[in-house]
Symmetry: C3
Amino acid sequence: MSGKFLRDAWYVAAWTEEVGRTPLARLLLGEPVVLFRREDGVAVALEDRCCHRRAPLSKGKLLGDRLQCGYHGFTFDASGACVRIPGQDRVPPSLGVRAYPLIERHGYLWIWMGERAKADPALIPDFHQNHDPGWTAVRGRLPIAAHYLLVVENLIDLSHVGIVHAKTIGTDDSRAELQFERGDDVVRVVRTPTEVVTAPHNLKQGLAERSVLEKTIDFRPPCQVAIAVTTTEVAPHKPEPRALRLIILNACTPETEASTHYFWASCRDYQLGDKQVDAFLTKVTIDAFNEDKDILEAQQTCIALDPAAPTVNVHADWGGVQARRLVAQLLDSETASAKAAAE
Amino acid sequence: MSGKFLRDAWYVAAWTEEVGRTPLARLLLGEPVVLFRREDGVAVALEDRCCHRRAPLSKGKLLGDRLQCGYHGFTFDASGACVRIPGQDRVPPSLGVRAYPLIERHGYLWIWMGERAKADPALIPDFHQNHDPGWTAVRGRLPIAAHYLLVVENLIDLSHVGIVHAKTIGTDDSRAELQFERGDDVVRVVRTPTEVVTAPHNLKQGLAERSVLEKTIDFRPPCQVAIAVTTTEVAPHKPEPRALRLIILNACTPETEASTHYFWASCRDYQLGDKQVDAFLTKVTIDAFNEDKDILEAQQTCIALDPAAPTVNVHADWGGVQARRLVAQLLDSETASAKAAAE
Amino acid sequence: MSGKFLRDAWYVAAWTEEVGRTPLARLLLGEPVVLFRREDGVAVALEDRCCHRRAPLSKGKLLGDRLQCGYHGFTFDASGACVRIPGQDRVPPSLGVRAYPLIERHGYLWIWMGERAKADPALIPDFHQNHDPGWTAVRGRLPIAAHYLLVVENLIDLSHVGIVHAKTIGTDDSRAELQFERGDDVVRVVRTPTEVVTAPHNLKQGLAERSVLEKTIDFRPPCQVAIAVTTTEVAPHKPEPRALRLIILNACTPETEASTHYFWASCRDYQLGDKQVDAFLTKVTIDAFNEDKDILEAQQTCIALDPAAPTVNVHADWGGVQARRLVAQLLDSETASAKAAAE
């Protein structure tokens, strides 16, 4: 488990609906960040620590587009620049707090905590299904007291489903045939499509009695995991057999080295806007993710007892191992690049 | 923020009324201290750790003027000397726990935790207004989870008043003209007297419609801050215009490196003994100090996230900066003197 | 206070009745252990950390005699060998978790966490009174937030009884004459037998009005203390004066360096099976041991404030001092032997 985080990367800081005109404090990558919206609605992320006496700015208040510290009244604009020091006219021009690039896209607020020049919005993963007229999404945020890579590993893995979720969504997938792919910026695990008896809730959608189930899991660094599940009816008599798609978008933002802000969205391209299906999927997902949270937090506690205790990898771990390797490579190259820049 | 405390200094250990015939445990400067009164009423401070097996003596009981450990019954007199070991007749003459010089003055119990020979009672700051027939005081003790110098800094500072206390006592003093003085053992901040409309509660005292407001803040190391507020009516027709004096005496004794026993007293020289005024001033003060506590604890938490994060100083910080400098100088000279003594 | 624990030694892991077909997690000597019974009733102790991803096995479930990890389903037999990896046929033969020798004797489960080859059951102390038709025992387990040697020291010591237990079982034994013996693997403290007025509850047993009270305390490393109390009636006219024996068996197993699983059993050879006596002795013992817990935890807190603060030893401490010395000697020789083996 790494002692540091990738910084040149986009992380989900919050759901768009979490941030408004009341400053929101959030610890991200071990650093205090304050989030708020300007009067024109644009969301802003600043260092949540006044440059004056290190009070958290999130305890202050917004005056228009400016955030006033709740201690001595130092005031910062949305770029982090200090624009007012009570009691004096002059404000040193370089004074301010750090402002982080923040992009609102697909219902997420994406933050870049590394080198500003590298913050290319094109690098934001495509999570459009969370906000797309062709899809309906339910979503949530779950705090998990475990290192973010433990959460990532859990999401990439299929072998735990029949065990951890035995009482909820678990079907024994341990014998499923898996294919693995590794790209420069993606690790993909594909469960080979198999024909199954169509599940009851899919029969209700009008699917034929048998269908083909596909599952594709894409990990993208630093901590995004998209799980796409497609159920295609076996209906040779139909000109175009129907396919139902469900995609679970996951972002596991590190809070500290032992805790994670876990943002999940369950998106479907059928029964759009059906509140009953929303409620059903919300409950199913929360129940299952709380089962994960339970075992992940126990795992974190056990690791903390002896961080040097060994692990072993097996075939089913390929995806998780590659994800860790990819993050480690990026971290190495980031460290090397920072070192080169410093010299 | 210093990692250690000045030891050759008087600190407030407790209010006189807190200490009686039941041993009181209090952590001062990171050290366990037990306070109690002898049968003749004299207050005593001993190391709260039995020399035998390190049980806290505060869990024991008083037998006359002697404190018996609640574990094996080792018994200590008020000088800290061990006078009884159960099960044996002989008590080694040098056996005992540390006794701290403790002086009761003006309603405070002042403790000296440094070199005994230097414990000169004349060095105790003059806080007589807390116990003086010409004054009436209300007082309290507030635990604050912040380094004591953060509390000191808060008390010396006027610029936070209009922000932190905006809903209570806050008047925007940020534009007030300040004068600063630095002596060998005092840092003084004076708000230049200004003529104001007399406040309603002062009008009730019979003051003229306008008055001159003066504020003088005296910091004395290690952690005492006296805030004197004088309101003098503008009444040229009177031979002797009346002046109402309020003085807030503050002692911010370190409990640990991240917490403070904050002792405050609000003393006035008018409406002596008026219980309604007592209740009013108590409420006003507690409400305001809880606002300070809230921001100070948030500041401490933020500093702990990254103790190396920088700060900047502005004009209004002169007092706090000088106070820190004075404490640092005294600490250096104490360290040097201890080193010289050891050589 | 030592920073490590004797490993080549038997420790009480649990009462036999605590362990069944539901895996029990217990931290012993700072290490996670899971306890359960095989279908034939034999109790087993395994490392409570899956070799795969370090989830605690105690969150898994038993399948016959095998424990399945609750995360990915790795399955271990009672010897700790991994016998199943979901999703693959091959299991590397060396894969597994540590299994600890575990012996069930006299109602206790004794665990050996050191070198397996040295785990000689003959070294288990004779605690037969807890399970013997000639005796009746009441028992309990008390978590104490203090280093185990503080608990041991407390049990060996007689001088605290009149102080800590003044309101319960305390009689001032501080003037009792003590004899001390030190063997290779035992420290013994004997209170010289004294004639006393027979206690009321012993009079009810039909004892004569006077009796001789004997107390023998045996410490055996690492952390066992047996306290034997014998009351023999003074009845010269009887051919065989009656003697009532009470023995309190104590095992103070380290949980962490600052906490202890304290297992106590109060065994008597009279009024066998009498539930009223059981209830009386249970209450008396729990009340008294909670008094010990209270002072021990205060002592631990005080020690933690300054672990380097000195202690002094007096005559009455002989037993505790010898016990610490014996443990330290064994620890040294264990360390030396491990070093020799490593070379």
